[in-house]
Structures are given as C-alpha cells and as structure tokens.
C-alpha cells in the first residue's frame, strides 16, 4: 500500500519544522518580496546565502531542495536563453543575424533565472517542513479574520482537509480500476492523443461515480456527527506563536530591510 504524503513533506524536528505554520507562510511571502528587491550581484549573493542558511536551519538535505527546481528547469533555461539571445541593451557583446547578445540582456536573463530558482526553493522549503494538514490549519487561521468580508475560510479548510484525507484512497481506487479494466483487455498506451483520451473513460467514469458516492455518504455521516458549518466550532489543535516565531519574523523583515538598502541605499550620491 502506498503512503502518499502530498506536498513532499520531509519529517524532521528542526527549528524551521517547529515554527507555527502561519509564521512560515507569512515569512515565505515576505522573503519573496525580498527576492524581488534584489537587483545587484551583492543582492543576489545575499539572497543565496540567506537560502543556504534557512536550509541549514531546517535540516533538509541541500540536494533535496535543489531538486525541487527540476520541474521548472525548462522554463528557467528558456527565460535565460531568450533574454540572452534577444535582449535589448546598449552594450553589445556579440552579434549574428538576429541574435544580439547585450550585457543588459545577459544581466536581466541571469536575474530572472535567479529569481525563479530562489522562489522555487523558498516555497519548497515551506512544503518540505510543513505537513499538508498543518499547512491547512495555518491557511485557515490566516484567512479567518477575512470571514467578515465573506471569505469562506472554514469551508476552504474543510475542503482541503477532506481532499487530503481522500486523495490516497482515490489513488488506490484508481489503481484498482486500472487493473480491472486491464484485465478486460484495455490498453492505455495505444493510439493517438484522441484515442488515448477516449481510453480514459473506463477509468474516469467509475472514478467519478465513486467519488460522488463517497461525497454523498460522507455528507450524511458528517450530519450524523452534528456538523452544521463553521459556526460555533472549536478546534482541538490550537496554533500558538512562540518566541521562535518572533525571531523568524524579525529575520524576514531584516532581510527585506537589507535588500532594500542594497537596492536604493547604495546609490552613489
């Protein structure tokens, strides 16, 4: 049986792991702002050092975090290439037909690529150190104040929790359905795109029907257990900020401050 932990949670007990999920979500957002503030080599160097520091504090293997960049590697390389080969600028380094390599283009390309890589690494550190369930709690807690303007925080959290609960179950069921249809001679690797799409019906139809049936049963079971929406609900797990969270926020704001200074404060008079 597969134990599928979504969001690639990597268990651990580091300082980062133990932070409140709200802290981690908010500081990730703050650090993303910091990433966008950098515009010099020193700036990006600082950011890289920062990311390495955070990885060290989290106990995550460096290669693990680096590998999270892989899915978007193509886009990163493409961005880099486009900027290098077609970028506008005054200092031309090389020219051939329509390909103009300028210094500005090169710099911009590298910047864009660096930003993408840093953003990916930051967000994957978030999901590596926070299990999906705890993350859901954090998101709900952050959205709760916005209920007054109509944000359905509780309902969103409920949806996420139920999804997390059922995704492994549905994946097992998909596996069973595929096996059953294969045993009836179905071949899912054959044919052109259209044929393959059609071949998915014997898997998708039973799966959808099953999912709807489960949803029906679950709704009745929830009602039988006195569920009536988010009003008046209490929570067994309470989130609480601790000193470590304060430190994390201070760190995040300090980074923003530092990078803002590097961007604007160092301009020659």
């Amino acid at each position: 049986m597969l134990d599928i932990t979504l969001g690639q949670y990597y268990p651990g007990n580091s300082f980062i792991h133990r932070l409140d999920p709200r802290t981690k979500i908010l500081t990730t957002l703050l650090l993303i702002v910091a990433v966008f503030l950098a515009n010099t080599a020193i700036g990006y160097g600082t950011l890289c050092a920062m990311v390495l520091f955070i990885i060290a504090a989290s106990g995550l293997p460096f290669m693990l975090v680096l590998r999270s960049v892989k899915p978007l590697l193509f886009i990163i390389v493409l961005t880099l290439a486009l900027h290098i080969l077609m970028g506008q600028g005054d200092h031309v380094l090389y020219q051939w037909k329509f390909i103009t390599v300028t210094e500005e283009g090169l710099q911009l390309g590298v910047q864009m690529a660096m930003r993408l890589i840093l953003l990916l690494m930051l967000s994957s550190i978030l999901t590596f150190t926070t299990s999906p369930i705890v993350l859901t709690d954090g998101i709900e807690a952050l959205l709760r104040p916005f209920r007054v303007i109509g944000v359905p925080a509780h309902e969103l959290a409920m949806m996420m929790t139920i999804a997390l609960r059922f995704i492994p179950t549905l994946m097992e069921e998909t596996d069973r359905i595929i096996k059953a249809q294969t045993a009836r001679g179905a071949d899912f690797d054959r044919g052109n795109l259209l044929a393959r799409a059609k071949n998915m019906l014997p898997i998708l139809v039973p799966l959808f029907i099953s999912a709807f049936r489960r949803a029906d049963d679950l709704a009745i079971a929830m009602e039988a257990r006195c569920y009536r929406g988010g009003e008046g609900r209490t929570r067994m797990h309470q989130l609480a900020y601790r000193s470590g969270d304060v430190l994390a926020f201070v760190f995040a704001f300090a980074m923003i401050g530092l990078l803002a200074f590097l961007r604007w404060g160092l301009k020659p008079a």
Partner: protein, 285 residues
Amino acid sequence: MSMQLEHVSYTYMPGTPYEKEALKDVSLEINKGEFVAVIGHTGSGKSTLVQNLNGLLHPSKGTASLDGVDLSGKTAEAKQARSRIGMVFQYPEHQLFAETVYEDVAFGPRNLGLDPEKVEGRVRDAMKFVGLDFDTFAQRSPFSLSGGQMRRAAIAGVVAMNPDYLILDEPSAGLDPGSRDAVFAEIMALYKKRGIAIIMVTHSMEEAARFAGRMLVICKGKVILDGKPAEIFLKEKERLLQAGMDIPEVCKLADALRARGLRLPYEITDAKRLLAEVKRRKGLK
C-alpha cells in the same frame, strides 16, 4: 492445459522503505476444470498470488506461465495467453462505466478484436449466464440497477471474454445471503457447463467447503496447505487454526457432537450428510 507458478516470489516497492515481500517462493499448478478455493487472511498474499496467476503482476523472481507461455512476456503469444485468464475483482460493480449494460459487457470482447456479430453473441451468452435478461437489461444504464444486478453485470463483462480460467476475488463480498446464493449458483453453472477452471479467493470456509474441489491456504506469502477441502478440515485442523483460519460450521457441529459421544464418520463436511448420519444414529431413516 495448465497454469503454472514456478518458484514465484513477488516484492512490492522494492528498494523503498515500503518494500514488502508478499509472495515467497510459490510453486503450483492449476489445471483446466479444477475449482480451487484460495483462503487466507487479509495481507496473506492471496490477492498478490492471483494477480500473478493472470499476468497482471509480473513475478519478481520465478515464472508464471499458461501452457508453457510466460505470462510476463511482451509477445503476441503472451498477450493471447493472458487474455485466456479472466479476473473478477472485489466489488466488480465499481468498474462499470458504459452508458448501457450492453456496451459495458461488450468492452472485453471488443478489446479482444472480435467483430460486432461475435461481440453480440458473447454479450447475449454472458448476460444469460448471470441471469440478466437481455431484452430487459441490455439497454439500461448499469447505474440504474440494484447492487446485486450491478455485480452480475460486472461479472458478465468478464465472462463474455470466454476465459479458460476464471479468477474471482471474494465474489460474495458485501452481499446479503440471498444475493450471495444467486452469484454462486451462476458461478457453478458456468463451471459445470463450460468446464473452465475457477479460482476463487474467499474468506469463507463454508464457501470453500461447498464449492471447491481443491483448497489452497496462504499464510504470510506461502502456500501452507494444498488439497481437498474435506481432507484439510479433518487432517490439518490444527495447522488451520494456528494460521488463524477457522473450520466450517458443519465441522464444528460434528466435532461438538462427537465430543458428547455421538459416533460419526470422519469425512463429513456437508450439512445434509451430517443430518442424515445423526438421524441414523438416532435410529431413524
């Protein structure tokens, strides 16, 4: 004609922290015309075993073959061999997908490449076998049927492929006694009429005793007992109980009667016979 497993071992997710050896060096042969019950706990490896028998899973070690053809091969011959083994999974009604019962039952035969006339013939035969009247049910949506009917429609879908060997994984799971009897009646009819081999995975000793001519008991990935059900219940009772299995109610009753002094012949695994013997002992006909 036979199905063979030669020193088959199967390991799930090798090389990961979830690695599990579900089958350990299993060798056995099943001939056409046998009715074999496969008994074992959840997690004993019985599902893995039957999925190796029909080529759905390929052995990690050893070979699974049908009449000498390796079932894990990629050749047309291997494909053909696999198509001769039908498999009905647990809760087969969960695989129904087509708009009409006809279309769903026709899925298998069509995948075999048969032309429309032959497909129709197969569908009609299969539906007749499972007791779903063609004119009433062929054009209905499979999802408008009752639970028991849906199960039979799903079984028809596999029967329509005319397998020489039919594997059924707990065909009576979740059914009430009435529907259960109906499903078994159909399976027995199929067995008797077409002479195919039936391999039935079950938890129920009663079912094994009633229908099977041969019983395989699986425990922790190994076949620990292989023989006639009646013999196993009588001679290997200790080993059965040790493996966490039970004996049929009939046998328990016979044991209780014997313990109180009633002398009964040893080979009884059938309720009618036990009743007859008890009556005889009490001086009645």
